[in-house]
Subunit: 352 residues, 4 copies
């Protein structure tokens, strides 16, 4: 926030879903968890309850490790499956490649992220098949070790159930584990209608970063490991990475409330609905060109430069300088209200 | 918590200060921070305010990086100062050596923790002087790179102002930076009466892990860097380690409240006072032998085995199996009440 | 060598320049160095002489560290200049990206190799300029740290003096150091006619992997550091990587003989001349299509599949399965004789 | 070599066994290997022969990876068996702890070397048993992962067959693999009379750094892996560490000659015999106090300071400043002749 903008009336932030605060239920859960002493490091009853809830949600035994950031969830998950000489097969536009300052390389002790082609930030199964064979057994090259997909993707697109299954099938065929970066997994489930189980292990996913932070929590992500036998190694890696919270109950309490009464789904639906409302409103504004289909809670559109400048000057917040001239990214969250959307649309119409 | 103990009345936990919950003021601060959108990743006004408060507290310009665990604060701090071929000079009984599953080695890319002798888990300045010269310039040996001391120590002992200055002087002489693991820094300040500035940079400390988690926060520690020029590198290391919280305002809010009205000091004083009360009460129980002087919020004592067994059976919680036969560790926190102490003392007297 | 081929008459190997043995002068130098005791780890007089010779060759003060493989020379050089959160800017077709099993990632503790476009395995200066600005200062992205070019490239092409200077100028402008992977540096110098100084530091190169192994030595590469002040760090990194030879005199003796009487240049000229002879001979064989211009000691050509099969069946050795259907790579070395070339050409003509 | 000493007559070096050159047979083997093209990276027939010879020597199937330094052999071996959160249990006086600049930490991605007590630089089996249980399963502590012993030790002492078996038994009991740093393994075998198989896998050793460099080779050590199934991972680690020699035949040729006609044993016997001769001669010189029993090719003795100064002034070479006042270390090698020993003894007698 610059000095200039501080004096402006606070406008809704479409910069990212992480500019939102907490769902009230999650805040209440923190207060409720603050009752007397409780064992530290995850030996508390709330942590146990969260694990049970996630087993129920995913319809099978899973191991759960809570961490406070998506970067940690992703990097730890990849480190479990890739040796230092491994290749992490991912899209060039993925979050793990572009936005984590090399955290996957750090946690894997130097694995290489190898790009797999595909449109709209999604891996193409055929391109993946070729990549899984690259350098196989050749001591001069890094070895395909794990595949990582992002659901929803960095462009807000989704892997359909069919697409996910196709990726999973290639992984099975190649004997490679499949990681899903699900920092916006809730938005994907809300949009796709398939169950969490169908979209993950039933389709071939081995490990999931199940995000809550962007969708109403304060800072908690669950690493959901569908083969619980490997949880031990992950526990050492988490501790060593400084991600074993001593007062774990407060991470657990967030996740607990997030899972209660399908808050996670309700929040995601609200975010998705607001993106759809933005989409519908923007499409009819002259000079605005929305990119592709809006599938979850993120929208890319080309706007006239004076409209961009005008919106920013009025205090609206979004990113605009990274995807080509005139392209803006608008992200909605559980906290976005119809009024927020309508205010942006009204301002844009005036500037059209 | 085992099934057996679950049915017992909840008894106070003396296992660690991290079994306590949050100070009410910190919980309120979280609620207060939950107001509308706010820039992520530390660009929010609460983060700025925390930095200002810590500059004021330490009476100089400092750089502040918030992280959610003490392990992260320590490991990142050491990584800033030790190259991979460095030696981190520390006490054999230090937390960084024993309780972080190799996190310092991970974040430094493989530095070596080299032990420096000293009584009561505190480094002796003369032993340190010798250690700073070890292998200096010899390509076959790791190079002394940084010194780390723990305030308060793992045995609950304190580095007096004089002791800290003596350590600082050796560091200056050797050209080595000095790190202070201050996960219980508040308890040390409360006990020693010297100012935070006196106990740190004025005595030669270059970087401090300023803990809040054990003393009433949910999960936040401030890396306080007394030479702000090096903060840039630390920011990359923090992100790469998965420790850059997206909704940073909620880490900041905890620290903000922690610093308000000297809550940090008040909490530490309460914890220290409860340890003193325990000390006074235990010393007069026949068969109990309290080790040394209780300086902060931690007490070690040799108890008759039946007394230990009896207390545990009644639901009191503490560690007992790590420091020799019959030795227990009792840790108090801001949340420990006189009643809690008195209940333990009463039970012990009955078992004596 | 399969069982089948073992019974064939030994045919010349065009698979790589590393299938050749040693220059006789280098073998003699090893014998000559084997005289009585000599200080270990590089404190011997031969090592000193090599450093002096390389200072003379490069017309300035340089620091020299000898290692036994090109992988080590490259990875250590990059580690000197890239922090773990750095980006190593290089061509997608570079050796460091494809043929070192992640050694640069290992030695840098997890830096990321970021691809810069350009034809014929050479970086384009304009593409480089854009890459040097990528994520600059953004804590979410790895930071441009060092540029690496390969001279001669993996496709046998050369960076002309002008091209090198253009790359160097972009590096200077961006404040980034420039590494040259010179495992075939001798072939480049022999072909380009410019001096070693002109092709390196005068054009902006900061560190050079000066190769000898592929050009007549047994196993020695010199890391030539044009700013000797940073050699200390490199020495620790070398030792830590297991690359400080105890009987260093024998690495030094190889390099010493390699530099004597311009053996390095004479060997490279022979290799280049044999590639030119191959080129001239192949171009006139019907059905053979030599790719581009042959600039150093490596040639790519499309051959009819029966010709490929026939040559391999007769015991000729080369790689053929990596650059598209029917494309073979032929590499010559100092040890390749006119007879070897003519034998291949004769066999190919028969198979045409 | 300082300027002063350069003008002195060359005197025998007792500083280390790595100040010696090559066995003539090894030099000849290098010349013999220099015949025409040969497949690179270990696919040559000499490498195959070496593997066969080592299988024969150790009386079982083994996997062999050749590298050029002992540091690499040790660090790679440990990395195979220790995860980053592992503890490498070793003696505080071991080479891996003191003389490799943290190479084990580098190759293991940050494991911790944990000291096990024992006299004369040898691990005590009972102390080892306790160490194998340290922190077991506790996520806060590094996990016992591999045990490493040095044969012969840094003090020149040996693990007897019984001692080795006792260590091996503790490892088996704890489920931990056992590494033997055998940079002077030949000297141990020569002295102990037991077979290589008895002293290694039959006693519980899982991986051996089988040294040749200190005992007559130029620079080659064999990693001998008694469970060949794990060789694949080791191959990737070797390449990634820059230790896969392209012209591998020349490493193999050294090892080949080293194993021929028991050259390795003959060389070690000569070195051991010369140490015994030194021992016998020194013990009868007034004022000289030889430490303990001389078991292999290394001797520690306390000498009067004028004798030390006088010997150094006459050009004799040895280390003297690391083991307390007046203590010198004298190391003999295959190249040490009786004359060399007698010259030192004569000079010492004069200075007595």
């Amino acid at each position: 926030m610059t000095d200039e903008t501080r004096s402006l009336p606070r406008q809704p932030g479409f910069g990212s879903d992480n500019v939102a605060g907490l769902s009230p239920a999650i805040l209440q859960a923190l207060a409720a968890a603050n009752e007397g002493p409780m064992p530290s490091y995850g030996a508390d009853p709330i942590s146990r309850r969260v694990e049970e809830k996630l087993c129920a949600l995913f319809e099978r035994e899973v191991a759960v490790l809570l961490v406070s950031t998506g970067t940690a969830a992703n990097a730890l998950s990849l480190a479990l499956f890739s040796p230092p000489w491994g290749a992490v097969l991912c899209h060039a536009g993925s979050h793990i490649e572009n936005d984590e300052c090399g955290a996957p390389e750090f946690f894997t002790s130097g694995a290489k992220l190898v790009h797999v082609a595909g449109t709209d930030a999604r891996i193409d199964p055929e391109a993946l098949r070729a990549a899984t064979r690259l350098n196989k057994g050749d001591v001069h090259g890094v070895q395909p070790a794990v595949v990582s997909i992002t659901q929803a993707s960095e462009l807000g697109t989704l892997y359909s159930l069919e697409h996910t299954r196709a990726i999973g099938a290639v992984c099975r065929e190649a004997g490679l584990p499949l990681h899903m970066d699900g920092s916006r997994f809730a938005n994907a489930v809300a949009a796709l209608g398939a169950s969490p189980a169908e979209l993950t292990w039933k389709a071939g996913v081995d490990i999931l970063s199940f995000g809550a932070t962007k969708n109403g929590a304060m800072g908690v992500e669950a690493i959901v490991l569908f083969d619980p036998a490997r949880a031990g190694e992950l526990a050492f890696r988490r501790k060593r990475g400084g991600h074993l919270s001593s007062k774990m109950r407060f991470l657990a309490a967030q996740m607990d409330a997030y899972l209660d009464d399908d808050l996670w789904l309700a929040n995601a639906r609200q975010a998705n609905a607001m993106a759809a409302r933005l989409d519908a409103g923007l499409r009819v504004i002259p000079g605005v060109d929305v990119n592709g289909t809006v599938e979850a809670n993120m929208l890319f559109a080309r706007l006239p430069q004076p409209m961009i400048d005008g919106l920013l000057a009025q205090g609206f917040r979004f990113y605009t300088d990274r995807w080509g001239a005139g392209v803006v990214r608008l992200v909605t969250s559980f906290a976005t209200r119809e009024d927020d959307v309508d205010a942006l649309l009204a301002a844009a119409r005036v500037l059209a």
